[in-house]
């Protein structure tokens, strides 16, 4: 196995992408791994494309530079599908997790990927059902657990997330976020 397991998130300002990346690292921390999570900060503008990163390892993580060859690419905003930035540095083994309501086959074509594994999940739809607004990150974390059970199982993700969310949210919102994770896990489709 490679030394680091690396995740790159692509979203837009205001969608909770950075919070998603940080929460995922905090959750994976609970499995005993060493973690890092950091955003790429430009001017902080709502709606502007931004990237965030995770690294997971069995030893102390000493590097801080942006992820160049991601094991997983998470596309938080469906309007970014088709952007060449998503494909930067990918390998045949890179796994894509994409927030979309379109079919996996269709998404694969729009992304211009070939052999890479793809998971699609209607994370915006799930988010609207639960929060009545667009915060797709919790559902995407659930799909991550489906795609990368070797990094964190869905049960462990739910257990850790409950504590992480409770630091900043009331109990009702914690429950809804956990529900979003479950739905993201259940409705993630693999191709």
């Amino acid at each position: 196995m490679r030394k680091f397991f690396e995740v790159r998130w692509h979203g837009r300002g205001g969608q909770g992408t950075v919070t998603g990346a940080k929460s995922l690292s905090e959750a994976v921390q609970g499995t005993g791994k060493y973690v890092a999570a950091f955003p790429e900060y430009g001017p902080e503008r709502r709606g502007a494309p931004l990237r965030a990163f995770n690294r997971f390892a069995d030893e102390m993580i000493r590097i801080h530079t942006p992820v160049q060859n991601p094991d997983v690419v998470i596309v938080v905003d469906p309007t970014l599908i088709g952007s060449p930035d998503l494909l930067e540095g990918i390998t045949p083994d890179t796994i894509f997790i994409v927030n979309t309501e379109k079919s996996a086959e269709n998404t694969k074509q729009s992304l211009s990927i070939n052999s890479q594994k793809l998971y699609t999940v209607p994370a915006n739809k799930i988010s609207f059902q639960l929060f009545n607004k667009e915060i797709p990150n919790s559902a995407l974390m659930g799909t991550f657990a489906k795609a990368c059970g070797n990094i964190i199982s869905i049960d462990k993700l739910l257990e850790e997330s409950e504590q992480i969310f409770a630091k900043n949210l009331g109990s009702e919102l914690v429950d809804r976020n956990l529900e979003a994770i479950k739905k993201g896990y259940e409705s993630g489709e693999e191709i």
Partner: protein, 393 residues
């Protein structure tokens, strides 16, 4: 109980402040250090600390309030970055010259203009002559550990100087990393109680503060500060040793990484040391004699100790992350000075990188070691000073 957790660098600093439980924290927020005082103000509101939290109208006032509270006998802390430190400028000198052990978290950020919020060391390097102890930190863990040690180092009776703990903006301050946070009680026991040498509120033993001091004594007071800074070296070593006994993590004036038999050495400060260590490991696995010397204490600067550690070095690349236009980088200047008296001293040259947050990747660091190898084989440094990763270079 100590615990392993994932936390941002700024979050780690606020947790250390909570554990230290200072008497007074005057603060004015500025990116990227805002989270430090933002989190801390929450601890104050939640009653987790006994601190008097003073919201002030500027950084100049923040440092002024720090000095006043410190003279009154309190243990005092604050945090800032870049332009915030620049606005403290006048008062930085007053804090050190009035010998107040104020503790500052400095989250390194580039100086404007052009406006930039990202990491370089132009803020702290600009303040290198202000009479503050400066410790630098590679990671969240080191920044947290340095801050826990800071009050003890600064308050030592033969030191009594302010101290700034520096860490890279965003790269560390906003990065969630795994680290060990120590037990509250154990930290408080380690820190102990602050007993000021003199206190404005000690009316039984009144002293004058802020006196006029012209040709007759000013220079003696400056020499006293210089001597106190020399003493700080011992204080850093003592407190670091005690920290090691208590918490098991070892720190010295600088870190020697694979240095014993290293022929090609990079010298650097702060977070970039992490990437360099990765590259050193890779090259060592291929049998190359490379190493890293990472500065922890920049003021006081350990000239003799560094010279001793570079005994086997044949060529040294000094990485600076702050400009001194018209001169070499500030770290290079010190390293070359440290090496001047060494017989058979290594070749040494300077590379400027990372201003305003520009990344330096591991491949760039490999290139540095390849370049130093070429220089070594040719027996000549072609360019003493150059920029890395820059357009039009």
């Amino acid at each position: 109980m100590s615990k392993i957790l994932a936390i941002t660098g700024a979050g780690a600093m606020s947790q250390a402040m909570r554990q230290i439980n200072p008497d007074v924290v005057p603060a004015f927020p500025i990116t990227p250090s805002t989270q430090v005082v933002e989190d801390f103000s929450q601890f104050v509101a939640d009653g987790l600390v006994d601190t008097e939290f003073i919201t002030v109208e500027s950084e100049h006032s923040a440092m002024s309030a720090c000095i006043g509270a410190s003279i009154a006998g309190g243990r005092v802390m604050t945090a800032t970055s870049s332009a915030g430190m620049a606005l403290m400028w006048e008062m930085l000198y007053v804090a050190s010259s009035m010998r107040q052990p104020v503790v500052l978290t400095l989250i390194n950020r580039a100086m404007s203009a052009p406006i930039n919020i990202h990491a370089d060391h132009s803020d702290s390097m600009g303040a290198r002559d202000a009479g503050w102890i400066q410790l630098y930190s590679e990671s969240n863990q080191e920044a947290y550990d340095n801050l826990i040690m800071a009050p003890r180092i600064a308050e030592a009776s033969d030191v009594r100087l302010p101290i700034m703990i520096c860490l890279d903006g965003f790269i560390i301050s906003h990065c969630v990393q795994t680290m060990q946070m120590e037990d509250d009680d154990k930290v408080r026991e380690f820190i102990g109680e602050f007993k000021p040498a003199y206190s404005l509120l000690d009316t039984e033993n009144p002293v004058s503060w802020g006196a006029l001091d012209l040709q007759d004594y000013y220079i003696e007071h400056k020499r006293a500060q210089h001597m106190a800074m020399q003493n700080a070296k011992e204080s850093i070593k003592l407190v670091s040793e005690e920290f090691y006994q208590c918490f098991g993590r070892k720190y010295e004036l600088f870190e020697s990484y694979c240095l014993d038999d290293a022929e090609r050495v990079i010298i650097a400060i702060n977070s970039i040391a992490g990437e360099i260590k990765e590259v050193v490991d890779d090259l060592r696995n291929k049998g190359e004699k490379v190493g890293l010397l990472k500065i922890r204490s920049f003021r006081p600067f350990p000239y003799e100790e560094i010279a001793e550690s570079l005994k086997s070095a044949k060529i040294v690349t000094v990485l600076d992350r702050s400009e001194s236009m018209g001169a070499y980088g500030p770290l290079f200047t010190e390293i070359r000075t440290a090496l001047f008296d060494v017989p058979d001293r290594p070749m040494v040259y300077n590379r400027m990188f990372g201003l305003g947050g520009r990344e330096l990747f591991m491949s760039d660091i490999q290139n540095i070691f390849e370049e130093s190898n070429r220089y070594l084989e040719n027996g000549k440094v072609e360019k003493v000073f150059d920029y890395l990763n820059v357009r039009g270079g």
